[in-house]
Amino acid sequence: MNEANTQTSPEAPGVHPRRFWSVRPVSDRQAGDAVVSNFLLHWFPAKSMRASLGWGYSLWLGTISAALLLLLVISGLPLMFLHVPSVERAYGSVKDIEYVVTFGFWIRSVHRLSAHLMVAAVFLHLARVFLCGAYKNGVPSDQKREWNWLIGVAMFVLTLFLSFTGYLLPWDQLAYWAITVGTNIASAVPLIGPKVRELLLGGRNIDQPTLIRFYALHVIALPGALCALLAYHMWRIRKDGGLASADRSGRLPAPAEVPAGPSKTYTLLGVARGTGPTVRARSIEAPATTVNSVADLTRRAGIVVLGTMAAVSIAAVFYHSPLEEPANPLVTPNPAKAPWYFLWLQEIVTDTTLKLGAFTINGALIGGVLLPGLLILALAVWPWLDRSPAAAAGVWFDRSRRTQNLVFLLLVLAVLALTFIGTFCRGPYWELFWPWQAWPEMPGRI
């Protein structure tokens, strides 16, 4: 901050001398003004809980996820100008993006890499919050962290649907057979299933109405819903007093309540001096537990967001996105594999067809609808089932939550094992092979 600026700084609150460059405030007052006067920062609090900002606690996975979403929106915009959502031209337009459009392959690669990383980042964020018990309310106040967890689970599901609808748009073999399998899973639901499938496809067969439906879902309906939930997610974090790790500072002994002064005039000055009758500084606002958001929060957020963007942008130069053969309803690829994050589902729909005497339940219903539905439901209601003490909120691997953390990790391990099998051990006709084993040629089959 140069001298000219400090000299000309206006004295009115909420006015920052350099409203477009408020990264290096010289006083607490200026740090607060920086937040208020800068459009990009106005949604931050003036002060942040010191404990919320630690690298090792949150690993900043939520911020990374949000940065990836931002990248997806930015890179999706040019792709929307270039992609033609028609069954005749979608494949050709994506091929053009990949091979003809200047920088097209890079934009597509940024979009695709961000999408894959976002699935991973959002899941890791969810796992971190679970393992820290961060959906718990650490201080007895009006916190509603459990609802924010619920919003988060919904956002995770939306992220998966966004990925699913996204990889359909090139209209290649992956797309066509993913829609075939995906919508048949929907139609395995008793009674309403076939109607749901027809609604998704826009008919009984996969055709133009299908592509335009998934396109509309991918470019506006799902991102709109995700961004709305994201806004609420962020707002709730502020209302809940920062991350759950900060709740411990809230349990520090509060300073004694100041009795009401003799004056009945409740002036601002009285509030500031602590002589107003209702004002009681809670330890959560104590100077020792807080820092100025500018620059302590903004610096770290900047590092994470810009770092994510830089990493993805650079990786996208070297990593080209695959494009399978054009969609061909006449030939199912052998094997036909889903992207890695759905392979565990492909494994369980394979393994869960139940035969009870003459009665058979399709694995599509058990493995494709009931089991994933139960997992999501269990995640959604878990904060209300978790009986551990409030002190376990925002603590990595708290002893009181050992069993549930263990069960959670075992489930994650099972999903990872199924993903591994689906990725490396499944060959033609979905038969098991060792990863190093060569797949056989299949003569005499069509």
Binding site: V181, N184, I185, A188, G203
Partner: protein
């Protein structure tokens, strides 16, 4: 007396209620518009060619996703759509065809089928033998078109596995 709602409260409730009903109706209208009223799908009753175009043994029709079998003058057709999740099964010729009685009628089994998506396996008559498939492959009826003598298959009407079409 104060228990009774006054006119203002009643009107406010009515107003809010009407607003909720209006929003709900608009949401229903928007959703209902997405359920198709007209099908532009390919017809399910399809002419598949003259009987003479079918060789003895099996012919795969990719557009209809159908295996058509001919044994002399008798025909039958088995769907290639896996009953698990709808991928197209692939046929493999058996080295030693066998004759088995299927639903009361003798049937020469020349192939077996396997699905590339989740590994379901079917025997020559379409019976699901392993993997996640919950049902046998569907059989569809073949008829002869009155106008030009082509074979016609009805892909919307499964028939028992004893179905045969015998032409003169």
């Amino acid at each position: 007396m104060s228990e009774e709602p006054n006119r203002r409260q009643v009107l406010v409730k009515l107003g809010f209620g009407a607003g909720v009903v209006a929003l709900g109706a608009q949401a229903v209208a928007a959703l209902r518009s997405l359920a198709p009223n007209v099908s532009y799908d390919a017809p399910t009753t399809v002419k598949i060619g003259m009987p003479a175009e079918f060789p003895d043994g099996m012919k795969f029709l990719p557009d209809e996703r159908l295996f058509v079998f001919r044994e002399g003058k008798t025909f039958h057709a088995i769907s290639a759509v896996c009953t698990h999740l709808g991928c197209t099964v692939k046929a493999e010729a058996l080295p030693n065809p066998e004759v088995r009685t299927v639903e009361g009628a003798p049937l020469r089994l020349t192939h077996r089928y396997a699905c590339p998506c989740h590994g379901s396996k079917y025997s020559g008559d379409g019976e699901n033998v392993s993997g996640p498939a919950p049902r046998p492959l569907a059989w569809y009826p073949i008829t002869v078109a009155a106008d030009d003598g082509q074979l016609v298959v009805d892909l919307a009407r499964p028939v028992p596995r004893s179905f045969r079409l015998t032409i003169a």
